[in-house]
């Protein structure tokens, strides 16, 4: 049975120095963000904030200098990520590009694509969405049907993507289409494309409102939309290999356990410096989990830094991390029973209100709990 490779990792001094710099920056940039706005973090959209972060050199940190990157370590990047998330900074403008699209292009893109997109991403000028899911294809992603048919100079696309976060705000969506139908081999014949969401005719973006009434994801409908040949990422038909790599980037970070941290902090304000027994027990338990998850997440970053592909470990952190961040509003409710508020009430009540409603998505986005446990089970040799 292959076992996991979680080894304790301490951050190097340059990463800790960077942490102080990031904290000062965040204190200066986000002084007026209320507690209940902070858990929005990777749903919070602010091109201005992303530009400022870019100016600090904190987008595309690990990428080569020739593409506008900064050739810093994954551990330094980790510090920037965890600090921005813990502070609840609005990162969604650059989030996908920094985490997924850029690394994907670095790995599979053409030299032209890298030169065109990567420097603009590191300047905080380009925003990306992810076009994978379809109405009939969620967990079973390889079953997608949106067709990209070869035509002179490019492809003609027909079909519908769904749940595309920020499609209405992004410049590009890296999208997975079927370029060939290979009978009985659904993982073959898929290809990824850099779809220009602003300048492509035949694309309609419709909002889908979430249960809290918010608009962040969309349906993206393609009707005879033309996508040029040079927008294809990687070889025609290599899409499956590429999206699984991309999902690896998506699953590995500290965002998979930090969504509800603001509620833990608000809980501390609420219970005060001398809590009763039940409250103290809860605070202690949450702290123990946070600390352990952070060590595990850091260990994944260290594996990336060492050039390994910790897909299995990342799945473990995402599974137990999202379970934990979902538990937080439930446990806080059980302890205090405060009524969750939307717009009125204290910051604590509004933070609870936000998180109670958004927690269900934590174990869906980026691959469901069940799918991740399937990956872990495969790692255990059970399938």
């Amino acid at each position: 049975m292959p076992t996991f490779n979680f080894e304790l990792h301490e951050l190097p001094p340059e990463a800790e120095m960077l942490r102080q710099e990031v904290r000062e920056f965040l204190r200066a940039e986000l002084p007026n963000l209320s507690a209940d706005e902070r858990p929005r973090t990777w749903g919070g959209h602010s091109p201005e904030f992303s530009k400022k972060l870019a100016a600090k050199g904190w987008i595309g940190m690990t990428w080569p200098k020739k593409y506008g990157g900064h050739e810093r370590s994954f551990l330094e990047r980790y510090v920037v990520l965890e600090e921005t998330l813990a502070a609840g900074a609005p990162v969604s403008f650059h989030w996908v590009a920094d985490r997924q699209s850029g690394p994907l292009l670095l790995r599979f893109g053409t030299e032209e694509q890298r030169q065109k997109f990567l420097p603009a991403i590191t300047r905080g000028e380009l925003s990306f969405a992810i076009g994978m899911s379809e109405p009939d294809s969620g967990s079973d992603l390889a079953s997608i049907r949106t067709r990209a048919e070869k035509v002179p100079g490019g492809y003609k696309v027909n079909g519908t993507k769904i749940w595309t976060s920020n499609a209405h705000l992004s410049d590009y969506a890296i999208s997975l289409f079927r370029t060939q139908v290979v009978p009985d081999k659904k993982h073959e014949g898929l290809s990824q494309f850099l779809v220009d969401l602003r300048n492509t005719k035949g694309i309609t973006i419709r909002p889908i409102y979430d249960l809290a009434g918010g608009h962040h994801f969309n349906e993206v409908h393609y009707e005879d939309a033309f996508v040029p040949e040079d927008a294809r990422v990687g070889k025609d038909g290599d899409g499956w290999k590429q999206v699984t790599t991309e999902l690896g980037f998506e699953r590995s970070g500290p965002e998979r356990y930090l969504s509800s941290i603001r509620l833990v902090l608000e809980l501390l304000n609420e219970v005060g410096k001398e809590p009763g027994e039940r409250a103290a027990v809860l605070v202690g338990r949450l702290t123990a989990h946070l600390n352990t998850l952070r060590q595990m997440s850091l260990s994944v970053a260290a594996m990336l830094q060492a050039g390994k592909s910790p897909n299995l470990e990342a799945s473990v952190v995402k599974d137990i991390g999202t379970t934990f961040e979902q538990e937080i509003p439930e446990l806080v409710h059980a302890l205090i029973g405060a009524e969750p508020h939307l717009h009125t009430g204290s910051e604590f009540e509004r933070t609870l209100g936000y998180l109670v409603q958004h927690a269900p998505s934590f174990s869906l986005r980026g691959g469901t709990r069940e799918i991740l446990r399937g990956i872990i089970a495969r790692g255990l040799g059970l399938r």
Partner: protein, 351 residues
């Protein structure tokens, strides 16, 4: 992992695989002290990995101790290796020599008090300590005792107390020892000694043993469901079984990480935060893990015949020893709350 860790891990695996048989564990559970096994473990250099060479140890670190203890937990080794490490650590931090032979420590209950006083030219120990691990079998008992308001480390011979035998769920000795003016073999003190030093170290070693026990539950469960067939196919092909074991894997990984962090912090000096986190996180994983492993094993795992319970009964005991999850969570929670919301993230990131 450094070279010494790798060497220790290999030595443990080899030695425990050969010698810690179900028959041997059964015999110790019936009260027989496994002397040959102890000799082999001691000669293999596994009992004092973190003790400086001048005090008789291997000159390694607490990280090395963790490697041995998690292996001991994985194999349900029926010996006071953990207690010996803690006792030896107390002795050597008080500048005292570490003798050969199994050591245990007392008191293990927060309410028990021991005192030592001058009795002519020598020291003498008095008091009662309940649930002393391996109390009746240890050759030496290392105690934390008070002397005129000061904390001292003292070593007494194993037979110097009146012993009332008892056990934990795993039938490991947990005896009540009473000393009345018992002769002290060595005594000393150290600046770093706190009233809860022993309690913390005990919680830490139990966390490592449990993390190892969870590794066993995971590998044993994976093996079992891959071999056992129902409905014409191996259990491992059922999705719900895969999902449950994936969950067990997550808890096992978290437990291992939490234990590692505690030992590493101990090596660096200030570990009370990490030890509390570890005892909470590992204890929680132990309960959940034992539940998942037994469910996956069906009725056979509920028999004495099958070896699963050698580990699960230990996990159920160990998670309660040196403070259960609730105890440590309350203690940690009070500390965190006292510092306030502003400090939590800074604290987590500065560890």
């Amino acid at each position: 992992m450094d070279d010494l860790s790798g060497l220790l891990a290999d030595t443990c695996t080899r030695l425990f695989t050969d010698r810690v048989t179900p028959a041997l564990i059964e015999a110790t559970e019936k009260g027989k002290w496994p002397d040959d096994l102890w000799q082999a473990v001691e000669e293999g250099g596994l009992t004092l990995p973190q003790i400086p060479e001048q005090h008789g140890g291997a000159g390694g670190t607490w990280d090395h101790a963790q490697v041995v203890l998690s292996a001991a937990g994985r194999f349900a080794v029926p010996l006071p290796i953990a207690e010996t490490m803690v006792g030896a650590w107390l002795l050597s931090s008080a500048g005292l020599d570490v003798p050969m032979g199994p050591i245990t420590v007392a008191p293990t209950q927060p309410s028990d008090r021991l005192s030592i006083s001058r009795n002519g030219g020598a020291w003498a120990l008095s008091g009662t300590a309940a649930r002393v691990p391996w109390g009746r079998s240890a050759k030496h008992v290392v105690v934390l005792a008070e002397s005129g308001g000061k904390l001292m480390v003292a070593r007494v011979a194993g037979g110097a107390a009146k012993a009332e035998p008892d056990t934990n769920l795993a039938l490991e000795p947990r005896d009540t020892l009473t000393w009345s003016n018992a002769p002290v073999a060595a005594a000393g003190t150290s600046d770093s000694l706190q009233p809860d030093s022993l309690w913390l170290a005990g919680a830490m070693v139990r966390a490592a043993q449990m993390a190892g026990g969870l590794e066993f539950l995971l590998s044993q469960s994976v093996k079992y469901v891959s071999e056992r067939k129902q409905f014409g196919k191996p259990l491992s092909t059922f999705q719900v079984i895969q999902q449950n074991l994936a969950l067990l894997a997550g808890h096992t990984a978290a437990a291992g990480m939490a234990a590692q962090a505690a030992f590493h912090a101990m090596e660096k000096g200030d570990a009370s935060f990490e030890i509390a986190c570890a005892k909470i996180r590992v204890g929680e994983a132990a309960g959940l893990g034992a539940g998942i492993a037994h469910q996956a094993h069906g009725a056979i795992g509920f028999t004495y015949e099958h070896t699963l319970h050698f580990v699960t009964r230990r996990l159920w005991s160990w998670r309660a020893e040196f403070g259960a999850e609730g105890h440590w969570a309350e203690r940690l929670g009070r500390e965190v709350a006292a510092r306030g919301a502003q400090a939590l993230w800074t604290m987590l990131t500065s560890r």
